[in-house]
Point group: C2
């Protein structure tokens, strides 16, 4: 696969977009955890919350991969999950944006 | 170390006491988790809650060990942690109770 290079301006836009998406994802997870915690009544509910946190922590650790070769795929996933709007990637080269949009629809 | 044997009546009392202590410990953990969850504001708080659940799950899995050779030690720990009152072990042989109380003060 070809290597996609990112200019320093694009990296700056990417970093800002990453932070936005991450904050949104974390905020949504916090709200979900608080709702789940509020409805705990027995020990299995506790361990379900634990399993959820284990899975989401693992997933979040791997997801926000900012290496050049990963960025298009990560942004496609974030757009797909509605954690980012394509408009928030404005300033990134149109070829990359086209790839991101196409991948986000898969 | 000598093997301590438990009669079937004692085992019955032990099982009931185990369940009581377990319920109390779980209930206290649920309340703690709900309080912690309520004060989550950022991602590190989420992972702190996750770490807490990991530790407590591991600890609870190992703690309620109902093998004859473990019971005295487990009850001593439960009494020490105020999850059980000695009176709730009434019916268990006085020698065992003396050991439990002595160990609970260590």
């Amino acid at each position: 696969m070809e290597t996609i290079t990112w200019s320093s301006e694009e990296r700056q836009i990417a970093q800002t977009a990453f932070k936005k998406a991450y904050r949104r994802e974390v905020q949504s997870l916090i709200e979900y955890v608080q709702t789940q915690a509020g409805s705990i009544t027995e020990v299995n509910d506790l361990w379900q919350l634990h399993d959820l946190l284990s899975a989401r922590r693992h997933q979040l650790d791997g997801k926000y991969d900012s290496r050049d070769a990963s960025l298009v795929f990560v942004f496609a996933e974030l757009v797909k999950q509605k954690l980012l709007a394509v408009e928030e990637l404005e300033g990134i080269n149109p070829d990359k944006l086209t790839k991101i949009v196409a991948l986000s629809r898969m």
